[in-house]
């Protein structure tokens, strides 16, 4: 029994085994094998065009790879029934790079739909209360009756983030969650992410944002040209002696950081000015 429990505790939230994907014979991902640890935050980093977003979508089961297998929260989407897939999705959240809000709905309806769909027992007042709580906490617009096209890109991103967490998912995927978000809301968003992680949820994030990496990452996955270059704890990666990893992280982080000195210090939990 103890063995079973300990096995469950260390089971990864998401397991990718020998994943490969090509587009018109151009390889996008090659032989990716990663176990994303449960109850922790993994940040995926790499140069633009290295396949990070595709990797994230494969991990979430949105893209079917050419080869390899996926297991999300113990479920293999390729073998699961419709009902199992639906139940699995209800336990996931996804923040898209471009927000991907439903344009033909108001911002409020964008947030209410997942709750109405997966938690039909919630009445309208409970849905309203949950949305009000999250929008207040994250400083989102109060004009939720507007359509996504009527608000700024930053507002859309925040609403997209709230939509992803509104059902309190066990596993949260995020693709550049802080792009276009102003500094004040960025701080609120990171605080929320920390509380999500502290409550034992799993986060897998693709980001160039040094603040997210330094403040919520437990693990870093470095990807280059569709291959895993290095995967390890934040401390291991920030102190990694591999010159290529160092160069990639320096390039990635310098896109958002404005600090002088050793830019990899931004990642080091002991040195980070964001901690």
């Amino acid at each position: 029994m103890d063995e079973m429990l300990s096995e469950q505790m260390i089971a990864p939230a998401c397991r990718l085994t020998s994943i490969s994907l090509a587009s018109e014979s151009t390889p996008i991902l090659e032989e990716i094998t990663v176990d994303f640890p449960a109850n922790a935050c993994t940040v995926v980093m790499g140069p633009s065009g290295s396949g990070k977003s595709t990797l994230l979508k494969i991990a979430a089961g949105l893209i079917v790879p050419d080869d390899g297998s996926i297991e999300i929260l113990g479920v293999d989407p390729a073998r699961a029934s419709d009902r199992e897939i639906e139940n699995l999705r209800a336990r996931n959240g996804f923040v898209f790079q471009d927000g991907a809000l439903w344009q033909n709905m108001s911002l409020y309806d964008n947030l209410a739909l997942p709750l109405q769909y997966h938690e039909p027992e919630r009445d309208a007042a409970a849905v309203r209360a949950r949305i009000a709580e999250l929008t207040r906490e994250l400083g989102a617009t109060r004009r939720l009756e507007l359509r996504p096209s009527q608000v700024s890109a930053g507002e859309r991103k925040i609403i997209s983030f709230i939509r992803a967490i509104v059902t309190d998912p066990e596993l949260l995927f995020m693709d550049e969650p802080t792009t276009s978000v102003d500094a004040e809301r960025n701080t609120l968003l990171i605080a929320r992410l920390r509380s999500i992680r502290e409550r034992g949820r799993t986060i897998i994030a693709v980001t160039h944002d040094a603040r997210i990496a330094s403040r919520i990452a437990d693990y870093i996955l470095v990807v280059k040209e569709g291959r895993v270059l290095r995967f390890g704890s934040l401390r291991e990666i920030s102190r990694c002696a591999d010159a290529e990893v160092e160069r990639i992280l320096t390039d990635v982080l310098s896109e958002t950081a404005t600090y002088d000195g050793d830019i990899l210090d931004l990642l080091d939990p002991d040195e980070s000015p964001f901690a």
Partner: protein, 260 residues
């Protein structure tokens, strides 16, 4: 050999596409009962679809049906009495408006208006990752997006056909008053005499089948868009082209079945 290979490859591709399309239709039909038992979140989409396809097309349908009814009455009343067959005008009105032109013209108008709109809207939703957002949120896009459109367009086509008939036949009566005045009672009894239950059934079956074809073809082509916005107009054009072809074939088959 090279040509044979090309023809073979093209045939295999076409067969694959056909099988995929059949699979799509089966999946949509499989999701219909699930939508009906879980429609709290999809009823808004259904209402909007009926509003757009059914209500907003009323003026177009009224104008066309009135115009066609007028033409039939004028032509019929100028020719038929010469052969002593004046009362045939009622049979012609029923055959043309109720059995043939009502369902097919209504469906063509719905394809031109709603079919293109649906294909364009779904294509845009694919490009902006909205469909992926439905999937990842655990909301089945077929059930939530396609099924309400299928039901909405089918129901609207049925209602518009009814409306086409009422306007076409009543409009003909108004025009008759200028050409060869008859009483409403006489006109009505003439129409009822010419009308059989098979005509009504044929008209209803056609409008339901045509509505379903329009919605299925439009949603299928809209969802065929992969990543680029330049694919969207192509999807809309294909949706109209294939939709019209299928409607005409289906019309011929149902009419043929009527006479068998």
């Amino acid at each position: 050999m090279h040509h044979v290979e090309r023809i073979g490859a093209s045939t295999i591709t076409r067969v694959d596409r056909f099988i995929y399309a059949v699979g799509y239709v089966v999946e949509v039909l499989r999701q219909v009962p699930r939508f009906l038992t879980h429609r709290r979140t999809g009823s808004r989409v259904l209402t909007m679809q009926v509003l757009f396809t059914g209500v907003e097309a009323l003026s177009v349908i009224a104008t066309i049906s009135l115009g066609i009814g007028t033409v039939i009455v004028i032509q019929g009343l100028s020719l038929l009495p010469q052969f002593g067959q004046g009362r045939l005008i009622y049979s012609i009105l029923i055959i043309v408006i109720t059995r043939e032109l009502g369902p097919i013209l209504t469906a063509l108008i719905v394809t031109a208006r709603s079919g293109t709109a649906i294909a364009t809207e779904l294509g845009n939703m694919v490009v902006s990752h909205e469909i992926e957002a439905y999937s990842i949120t655990g909301i089945n896009p077929i059930r939530h997006i396609v099924v309400p459109r299928l039901i909405g367009v089918t129901f609207s086509t049925f209602l518009l056909n009814l409306y086409f008939n009422v306007f076409g036949l009543l409009g003909s009566f108004v025009v008759t008053q200028f050409v060869n005045p008859v009483s409403l009672q006489e006109y009505w009894s003439g129409l009822l005499e010419a009308l059989s239950m098979t005509d009504v059934a044929s008209s209803i079956v056609k409008s339901l089948v045509f509505g379903a074809i329009t919605a299925l073809v439009a949603t299928f082509h809209g969802l065929q868009v992969e990543r680029s916005s330049t694919e969207i107009p192509v999807a809309a054009i294909r949706s109209v082209g294939r939709g019209i072809t299928l409607l005409i074939v289906a019309n011929a088959l149902i009419t043929l079945a009527y006479y068998l």
